[in-house]
Each structure stands twice: as structure tokens, then as C-alpha cells.
């Protein structure tokens, strides 16, 4: 048990001021990542700023058609929100594939983006881990690395970003609104998470004290079909071994626009531009999906126990694309 101070805030300014630029302070939303890691002695904040009272609990459609999600909207609310179900089914599917009902009831949108890796050595304070303790080494590199990443890895860290929700956001495209001691700014969702490189402890672009206030989804692709496929050891309450989120629009049997993002296999929510290129203007057929899958995984680097993730991810991609195409065709059919 480490003692820490606990503060609440009623609005964004107050939260940001209370937090300051101190890196010993942490915002707490649902607490499902943070409190877990505090108990494991992995995160050691001296002060928490509770943001649950902030007026960031709404989901609204903006005039330009984009969807603006408040940071503290829960995963459950978001997954079942009528606008999300109707216009962003990929996001709803991905959210519902994550964690369990109980966790989703607590987990928030910003908290989900900020969740930490599930690498067991990261979560064991007595193991060597560059992400937790820069320069200490990486016990996963030659250890039990079955759950680890094959894309975006470095020789410092091979941990996956475990989120499902973020895979949908990576495919849909989104903008984060941040507010911190130095004011307000925006950043594209796909620029937010960082690759481990030689600084795995720097997981994202948030500056000290910055708060995520909103996540604004790009306008949906017209007529696109959507499918999120999560492959995992058991059917629920389990992180992905490989997941694929696909958005595809088709015209006359040819893929007009495609978005593909991958989970469970990469060190950050992984948008595969290589796959998207391979799909563009190609017939909506299995052979195309297979080429896209090849392209997506061509730079994958396996370690001792996770080589199977490469073919598994390819399978996830092919199936997700097939189902997304079916969905697109159904959507196009006059009802």
C-alpha cells in the first residue's frame, strides 16, 4: 500500500490546474487500469485527480457530421449509443469484444486509449522491463512472449497495445482534443501512440499534465461495411492474439475505399496502410484479401513463442475483410 492524495475536480480547468505538470500525479477515470497497476506496484502516483465529475460524459454529432465523444463516456455507453451503432458499427463491435461487462461499465473512452500493456513482466515489479524502468532490460525478449507483438517492435520492447476499441478508432480515424498547463491542442489519433523504439517508456504524445477531453471520430465512409474480428484463447474476457477491424466500401464489385487496423499483434493500435493500398481498386475477392494480409504482415518480426501470430493475423484480416464486404453488399442492397 502506497499512500497517495486524492483530489476531485468539477471542470477541465480545475482538473488541469490541480494536476499541474507533475509526473507523479495521475488522472483517474474508471480506474480499471490505474488502480490495478498501483496495487501491483507498477504505477506509483503520489496524487490522483479524479475526472469523473468533469462534464465530459456526452456523445454528440457535430455540425460537420463527425461524432464527438467525451473522455469519460464509458465503454458500455459508447458501445450501445444509437449513433455509434448506426454510423460506427465497427467501434461498437470492437468495444463489445473487449474485457467484460463489468469492466466496460467502469472503463472510459480516454482511459481505454491510455490503458497499459498486459506484458506480464511489465506487471511484475521485480522483473526487468524497459517500459517500466528504462534501461533495466526486457525479460520478455527471451522469456514467455507468446502474447507479444510482431509489428512495430524494437530491441527494447515487444509489448502489445492491448486495446480493442483503439483498433476501431485507428481504422475510422479520429482526433483527440487535449488540454494541459500550456493550453489546448489537437492531435490525430493515429499519431497519438508511439512505437517503443529506444524509449519504450514514452507510450504516447501526451505532455505532462495534459488531459484528453474529447475524441472526435471522422465522418464515416459512405456505404462502408464494417467487421471487427477478435481471435483469442477463449471466447470472452480475454485479450486478442490477433484482431482485425475492417471498413470497406464497394462499387460494382470493386473495393472503393478500405481501412484496416490490427490489434493484438502490434506495439500500438496498428493501421495498415500497406494492406489498404493492396485493396484499393481491387475486386472484392478472397485473393485480394490474401494479398492485403500478406502486405500487412510483411514486416512482422516473430519471437520464440509468438510466430503463430503472423499467420493468425493474416487469417483475421482475410476473414474480417470478407465479412466487411458482405456487410457492405447487404447495406447497398435496397431493402
Amino acid at each position: 500500500m502506497r499512500t497517495f492524495a486524492y483530489r476531485t475536480a468539477d471542470d477541465v480547468t480545475q482538473a488541469v490546474t490541480t494536476h499541474g505538470a507533475d509526473d507523479q500525479v495521475a488522472y483517474v477515470a474508471g480506474g480499471t487500469t490505474l488502480l490495478d497497476l498501483v496495487k501491483l506496484d507498477v504505477m506509483r502516483p503520489t496524487q490522483l485527480v479524479d475526472i469523473n465529475r468533469l462534464p465530459l460524459g456526452e456523445v454528440e454529432t457535430l455540425d460537420d457530421g463527425r461524432l464527438r465523444i467525451g473522455a469519460t463516456v464509458t465503454n458500455t455507453e459508447l458501445a450501445h449509443h444509437p449513433e455509434v451503432k448506426a454510423r460506427y458499427p465497427l467501434l461498437s463491435q470492437a468495444l463489445l469484444a473487449g474485457a467484460s461487462t463489468q469492466l466496460r461499465n467502469m472503463a472510459t473512452t480516454a482511459g481505454n486509449i491510455m490503458q497499459r500493456t498486459r506484458c506480464p513482466y511489465y506487471r511484475d515489479a521485480s522483473a526487468a522491463c524497459n517500459r517500466r524502468e528504462p534501461g533495466s532490460g526486457c525479460d520478455a525478449m527471451h522469456g514467455i512472449n507468446r502474447m507479444h507483438a510482431v509489428l512495430g517492435v524494437s530491441d527494447q520492447c515487444i509489448a502489445t497495445h492491448p486495446s480493442d476499441m483503439c483498433i476501431a478508432m485507428a481504422a475510422i480515424g479520429a482526433t483527440l482534443t487535449l488540454e494541459g498547463p500550456d493550453g489546448k491542442r489537437e492531435i490525430a489519433f493515429n499519431d497519438f501512440h508511439r512505437l517503443p523504439g529506444d524509449q519504450p517508456e514514452k507510450e504516447h504524445e501526451l505532455r505532462p499534465g495534459e488531459l484528453i477531453t474529447y475524441i472526435t471520430l471522422d465522418t464515416p465512409i459512405e456505404g462502408a461495411g464494417a467487421y471487427y474480428l477478435k481471435l483469442r484463447d477463449r471466447a470472452s474476457y480475454e485479450f486478442a492474439l490477433a484482431s482485425a477491424g475492417a471498413l470497406v466500401s464497394i462499387q460494382d464489385g470493386v473495393i472503393h475505399e478500405a481501412r484496416l487496423a490490427l490489434g493484438g499483434v502490434a506495439t500500438k493500435p496498428w493501421r495498415s496502410h500497406e494492406a489498404e493500398q493492396a485493396l484499393h481498386n481491387q475486386p472484392a475477392a478472397v485473393s485480394t484479401f490474401e494479398m492485403a494480409a500478406e502486405a500487412a504482415m510483411q514486416d512482422a518480426v516473430p519471437h520464440e513463442h509468438n510466430a503463430f501470430k503472423i499467420p493468425l493475423a493474416r487469417q483475421a484480416i482475410v476473414r474480417a475483410l470478407r465479412e466487411a464486404c458482405k456487410d457492405a453488399e447487404n447495406a447497398n442492397e435496397p431493402r
Binding site: M1, R118, D139, I144, D233, R234, S236, F308, P311, Q315
Partner: protein, 733 residues
């Protein structure tokens, strides 16, 4: 036997207590002046504790003491004898010396005023270790085979030459990863010393065993130790015998003169509170062209820790499941730097039956024969090891009934031939079996003037329904309704009862309770025929007890409560005991069943699920069909975990446990549940006991994992011999 209560669906009599929070689990106990213990686990698996930085921790809020090898009181090891019922899970006492034999072994225990304070101090305690090189990783990470155990061997006929001569044979090695019990309720102890008496609340499957072991360890008369366990959040075997946390807690309470409660964390429970040991098993089977077994050989190795030689007897089913004149088993034991293993639901046999039933499937394929037909052709009509007839064996009915309900005759034996859209169906089956045991047992029953009946026995209900079946027995024999029957279990001061283990509790306890009921009724008849009593002068033997009343042949009837009140008596009581007898020399007792499993394999995305399980199990009479079915259904779910998910992951480099929590150690989730169709045959086994009941707690688990593995082969053509069957194994070319 025509029954009114026994054999009828009866809701748990303790259900309301559990649902309303009145059930007092060990952790629920708070007593005055109580302190909290929190063990400090080693973070290396092989080496020496060099230093503990105690001073700063003693200065932390609420900390009262820190015990370790330097200041722990001198105690005695328990002889750990099954015959004397003082068996323990780990013979090494806590903090005996500085040696560390496994990750999670306790190097100290902090005692503090509050739980959070004890935990904080335990986390803060700095330990310095000398880590020895060469920690021995798990059995499955090495090629070593350990030492042979002659006592575990068995031989009949001449299996080796029969194997040589046979026309059809198979020879394969099967492996099972170590598993965790993952019981809901953690190990927990509350120890209090009152004068020179030790009172322990423990979540245990054996109050009597723990009471005796405590007496040995603290070198005190047995009658001065009491162990209490009213409610247990299950155990699956890891609460059969006492673990070191209980000893450390009782010692701390004595030293400090205050009650101490210790509740293990999930991490500690998984690292140092027992596991099913890994096994490696080589099976050689040979048959003639008609599929008659000519030779069976089962050579196995299991692992244990360096501090306790636990042996999981995996070979036994091979000696008695099928008729075969030539059979041999052998066993090796390998010490590894893991926490000590212990029995886990259907210990030994569930692992052995996994290997045997996969091997039978492989033999059937080699013979080009239906796997069910192969089992029928080797049906054993008597116990091949003892040469005694089975008391009551209806495995053939199980095969017929389960196969029919499953639709087995529609099975196309060609691999991958049964397609449905993206999916391929795989159908597999296996035999299920568990020995039927019984122990000596005592019980007491009181008929009370307030119209209630109390039955007491020093066994315990680990969640399986023992309270309910004892109440049913009393209600059956007295005619008193269930809501007027009080059952007391879970105290070592009650008449000595059995462990809740080995599926023996029901068959052991009920006959003793019945004897006690009869003794109490006899006592009542004595009272009733005394002077100035309702039946003065009558022959006690001429009176009958029915529907809560004594009656004579003339039709005079007096309810027992009226009778007692009239005689100004609060109660009469009877002591009963029962033990296995001569029937053990006439019959062999075992339960049998069959599982049929359907898996769905989607090769396009390497996704496998168990979609259907159809089982028929013969357990003799199901005393309570509700709780009995619950046991089998739960076992099926557990078996899916064993087959597909469960594995304690130890890092092979340093033998440290990596997945010590419910998130990373994967058990079956609701979404993985198949459609389950369980039939319990109702063939009372009166040779075994007067109620015809064998046990039901374990048998359901045996045979599930091999039926899954066999179904997977049928769907995929991949014969995976190592459990669990995870996705990557199915993806290998």
C-alpha cells in the same frame, strides 16, 4: 429402497444462508483484538535468503511483528501420515531455514493491526537473495525423468512380449501442463489461543486432519486443538491438507497472545497453495485385428517440489479400465523448483485417463475401427487388478444412452468430413471413471423436544451439498421435514468424519448418520417405555418410528417432541458409526461413465470451440440429483479448461510463475460453455452402502479432455498430445 427424500431433487438447505450472507466463511470471522498476517513470498525460485531488512518495516504503521527463520518459534514437523490422519500438504515447516525452493515460498510473515497495514509492510519488506544457478524448470521443460517409485508400479501378465507379438500397436507420449485449482475462496486461517487451547478457523476440506496435524506440530494433546470450517468456497483438493500459512498464523497468534487471521492473495494461493503437477506419460497399447487389447503399458513421470514428495498416481486407470491380461504401469517423480503440488479433482486418474483415452482413440484409428466399438470390445466385467466383480457396473448403458442422445451413429469417421459453412465438426468420445471409496465415520443425532432433529458430523461441506444430503438422510429416516432438521458440520470436536475428498464424503457420512438416527430412535423408545411414559411396559422393539412419531401396533401414536416434553427431557441422542466391511472383499467399487464431445473448428481463422457435450454417468444412486448434476456439469466446464486453456506458466529461465492471476491464467468463461446434456443413471449400488450411493464430485472431469482431443483429431487431423490444446498447436502444419 422406496424413498421420500433421498434421490429426490432437493434445494440446498444452506442456500439461503449463502445468498443472504449469513454463511460464515473463514474470512468473515472477526474476533476481538484480532491481528492480520500477510506472508512475504520469495521472488526467486532457487537459492538462499541472505538478509531481510526488518527494522524499517517494524516502524511502519500498525506493524506488530515480522516472523522469519531467525525468530520463528521451534515447532515439530507433522509425520504426515494418512493412516494417522495428520497428513499435511508441505512437510517442511514455514521458515525452517534460509533455503528457497520455489518462487512464492514464504520468507517471512508480517503481522499488523489491519490487513492493509500488513500487506503494505509485506510489500515494503526488502529481501536480499543469493540466487543459485540451475533452478530446475518444470518437468515439461526438461528431459530429465527423476527417480523411479517402485510403490507406484503394477504388473500383470507379460505386457512386453505380448506387445512384441501383436499385429496392431501404438506408442505415444502425452503431456499435461501444470494446472491451478482456481477455487473461488482463497486459503485462509484465523488462529486463537485461549489459555492452552488452540482454536483455528480454516477453509479446509478436512477439519479432522488439520486438527491432528496442528496437534503434532505444536506438540499438544489433540483435544486441545479445535478446527472449524463451516463454509468453504470450494477447494478441488488444495484444501485437503494443511499448508504452511496456517502453521505460521497459529504460531504468530501464540507468540503474540492475540488472534491472527491470514488470508492469502490470489497470487500467493496460486504460487504456494497447491497445483496439479505436470505429467509426461508414455502409452503403449497393442491389440489383435479384432481390437482386443493384448498389451497395455503406461510409464509416467510427474513433478513435485523439493520440499514435499507429492505423487500424482496417473497410471492406475490403465490397470483397471479395460479387460487386458497383460498390463504394466511405472512411475517416476521429478523434483522441480515449483510450489508443491497436491491432489486436484480426480487426482492422478484424470491425467492418466487423458493419456489412456487418447491412446485408445489412436488405436481405434490404427485398427480402422469406431472408437466406441473398440471400448465395447474391451469391456471389463470384473476388476482386472483385484479379480473381483464390479459391485454395479452399467458402463454399457452409459455408452448406449449417451451415443444415442449425441447421434454418434451419424458420425462420418473421415477426418474433416463433417462441414457446416466455415466450420468443420469433430466428434470424439472417451470413457470416464473414478474409484468409489469409503472411510470409517462417526456421527451424532439428537431428537429434540422442540420438534427439531440435529445431526452432527466432523466432516465439512465444501460447496458440494453435504449439508443437504445429511439433512435428506435424517428427513428420510425420521419423516421429519427438512426445515426441522439442523445439520452441524465443519468442527473437529464433532464425531470424527471424513475428508471432503476422493468423492467419498457422501458414501462415508450417510451410513454413519443413519446409524446415529437409529440409535437416537432406540433411545427414544427406551424413554417411551419407561415408567410413567406413553408406552410404559411395551416392548421397545414393537414400537415403530414413522413421520416423526412413535407408534405401537395398536395404532397409538405420539410425536417425538410431545413425548420428550412429556418426559421433561430436552432431547435424546444417538451415536452412530459406519465403516467399509466385508463387501470390500467381495466386490470392487468404481463409477463409470461416457462423454461425447462435439467441437467446431473454423480453419480459416484457426478458431476452435466445444459446442456440445453429452454425458451419461453412473454414480449409483444420486442422493440429490440437483447437487449431483451440478457436480458433473461443473466438471465438464473444468474439463474444457483442462483441454483447451489451463496452464501455469513458469518462466523456464528461472522457474518463476508468470500468470498468477485470474486474468492471465485462463479458465473457461461463460461464452465458452457448450450445450451440456448430462444424464445420471439411477442404479443404486446397495453392495457399497445402504443408500446405494457412490461419489460424484470427481468422475465428471475424467474423460472430458481426451474426448475433446479426440474430437479435435476428427475435425482437424491433428493429434495434439500436449495439454492444453492452444491455438498455435492447431496451426502447426
Amino acid at each position: 429402497m422406496d424413498t421420500q427424500v433421498i434421490g429426490h431433487r432437493t434445494p440446498r438447505v444452506d442456500g439461503e444462508n449463502k445468498l443472504t450472507g449469513r454463511a460464515d466463511y473463514t474470512t468473515d470471522w472477526y474476533v476481538d483484538n484480532m491481528l492480520h498476517g500477510y506472508p512475504v513470498p520469495a521472488s526467486i525460485s532457487h537459492g538462499t535468503l541472505e538478509a531481510l531488512d526488518i527494522e524499517p518495516v517494524l516502524a511502519m504503521p500498525g506493524v506488530v511483528a515480522v516472523y522469519h527463520h531467525g525468530n520463528f518459534p521451534k515447532l515439530y514437523r507433522s509425520p504426515s501420515s494418512q493412516a494417522h490422519q495428520d497428513q499435511v500438504s508441505e512437510v517442511r515447516l514455514p521458515f525452517e531455514d534460509e533455503r528457497i525452493h520455489y518462487d512464492g515460498q514464504y520468507v517471512a510473515m508480517v503481522v499488523a493491526e489491519r490487513y492493509e497495514q500488513a500487506r503494505a509492510a509485506a510489500h515494503a519488506l526488502q529481501a536480499r537473495y543469493h540466487q543459485d544457478s540451475g533452478a530446475r524448470p518444470g518437468l515439461l521443460e526438461t528431459r530429465e525423468d527423476g527417480r523411479p517409485l517402485e510403490s507406484e508400479g503394477g504388473l500383470r501378465g507379460d505386457p512386453d512380449s505380448a506387445y512384441e507379438r501383436a499385429p496392431v500397436k501404438i506408442d505415444h507420449v502425452y503431456a499435461i501442463a501444470p494446472e491451478s485449482h482456481m477455487q473461488m475462496e482463497m486459503h485462509a486461517t484465523l488462529a486463537q489461543w485461549r489459555d492452552d487451547r488452540l482454536i483455528v478457523h480454516e477453509s479446509t476440506q478436512g477439519v479432522v486432519y488439520q486438527h491432528k496435524a496442528m496437534a503434532r506440530i505444536f506438540d499438544m494433546p489433540e483435544e486441545k486443538v479445535e478446527v472449524i470450517s463451516h463454509y468453504i468456497g470450494s477447494g478441488f483438493g488444495n484444501k485437503l491438507f494443511m499448508w504452511p500459512h496456517a502453521v505460521a498464523t497459529a504460531a504468530a497468534a501464540r507468540e503474540l497472545g492475540r488472534p491472527v487471521k491470514t488470508v492469502l492473495s490470489r497470487q500467493q494461493d496460486m504460487a504456494s497453495g497447491g497445483n496439479r503437477p505436470a505429467s509426461r506419460q508414455r502409452l503403449r497399447l497393442a491389440a489383435d485385428e479384432q481390437g482386443r487389447l493384448l498389451s497395455m503399458r503406461h510409464d509416467s513421470t510427474t513433478e513435485t517440489s523439493f520440499v514435499h514428495p507429492y505423487v500424482d498416481s496417473v497410471g492406475t486407470p490403465t490397470l483397471n479400465l479395460y479387460a487386458c491380461d497383460n498390463a504394466a504401469i511405472s512411475h517416476h517423480l521429478l523434483e522441480v523448483n515449483h510450489g508443491t503440488p497436491c491432489p486436484m479433482r480426480a487426482p492422478g486418474e484424470v491425467s492418466g485417463i487423458y493419456a489412456l483415452e487418447c491412446a485408445m482413440d489412436e488405436l481405434a484409428i490404427a485398427l480402422d475401427m469406431d472408437p466406441l466399438e473398440l471400448r465395447r470390445r474391451n469391456y471389463s466385467y470384473e476388476d482386472p487388478t483385484k479379480g473381483l466383480p464390479w459391485s454395479s457396473k452399467h458402463l454399457d448403458t452409459c455408452y448406449d444412452s449417451a451415443a444415442r442422445r449425441f447421434g454418434w451413429e451419424r458420425r462420418d469417421p473421415r477426418v474433416g468430413s463433417m462441414r457446416e459453412g466455415d466450420e468443420i465438426l469433430g466428434w470424439g468420445m472417451a470413457t470416464s471413471s473414478w474409484t468409489a471409496g469409503r472411510q470409517p465415520c462417526m456421527a451424532r443425532v439428537e431428537l429434540r423436544a422442540d420438534g427439531t432433529v440435529m445431526a452432527a458430523c466432523g466432516t465439512q461441506d465444501i460447496g458440494t451439498g453435504t449439508y443437504t444430503v445429511v439433512a435428506q438422510t435424517v428427513a428420510e429416516l425420521t419423516g421429519v421435514p427438512l426445515d426441522r432438521v439442523e445439520v452441524r458440520l465443519g468442527e473437529s470436536s464433532l464425531p470424527a468424519g471424513p475428508l471432503s475428498g476422493g468423492s467419498m464424503a457422501t458414501a462415508t457420512t450417510l451410513p454413519a448418520v443413519a446409524a446415529a438416527v437409529r440409535a437416537a430412535i432406540d433411545e427414544l423408545k427406551e424413554v417411551a417405555t419407561d415408567e410413567d411414559a406413553p408406552f410404559t411396559g411395551a416392548d421397545p422393539d414393537g414400537l415403530a418410528f414413522r413421520d416423526g412419531a412413535l407408534a405401537d401396533e395398536q395404532g397409538k401414536r405420539v410425536a417425538f417432541d410431545d413425548l420428550l416434553s412429556g418426559q421433561k427431557l430436552g432431547s435424546v441422542s444417538g451415536d452412530g458409526q459406519a465403516a467399509p466391511g466385508d463387501e470390500q472383499n467381495q466386490y470392487s467399487f468404481r463409477s463409470f461413465g461416457a462423454h461425447f464431445v462435439e467441437v467446431r473448428w473454423d480453419p480459416g481463422i484457426s478458431r476452435l470451440c466445444v459446442s456440445r457435450v453429452v454425458s451419461s454417468i453412473d454414480i449409483g444412486r444420486a442422493v440429490n440429483p440437483v447437487t449431483a448434476r451440478n457436480q458433473v456439469e461443473g466438471a465438464i466446464v473444468m474439463g474444457i479448461g483442462m483441454g483447451l486453456f489451463e496452464k501455469l506458466d513458469y518462466d523456464p529461465r528461472d522457474a518463476r510463475l508468470i500468470n498468477n492471476n485470474y486474468s492471465d491464467y485462463i479458465v473457461t468463461s461463460h461464452a465458452d460453455m457448450p450445450e451440456i446434456d448430462v444424464e445420471l443413471l439411477d442404479n443404486p449400488d446397495y453392495a457399497f452402502n445402504e443408500f446405494g450411493a457412490r461419489g460424484v464430485g470427481e468422475i465428471g472431469l475424467t474423460g472430458i479432455a481426451p474426448a475433446i482431443a479426440n474430437a479435435i483429431y476428427h475435425a482437424t487431423g491433428k493429434r495434439i498430445r500436449d495439454l492444453p490444446i492452444t491455438i498455435e498447436k492447431l496451426m502447426e502444419p
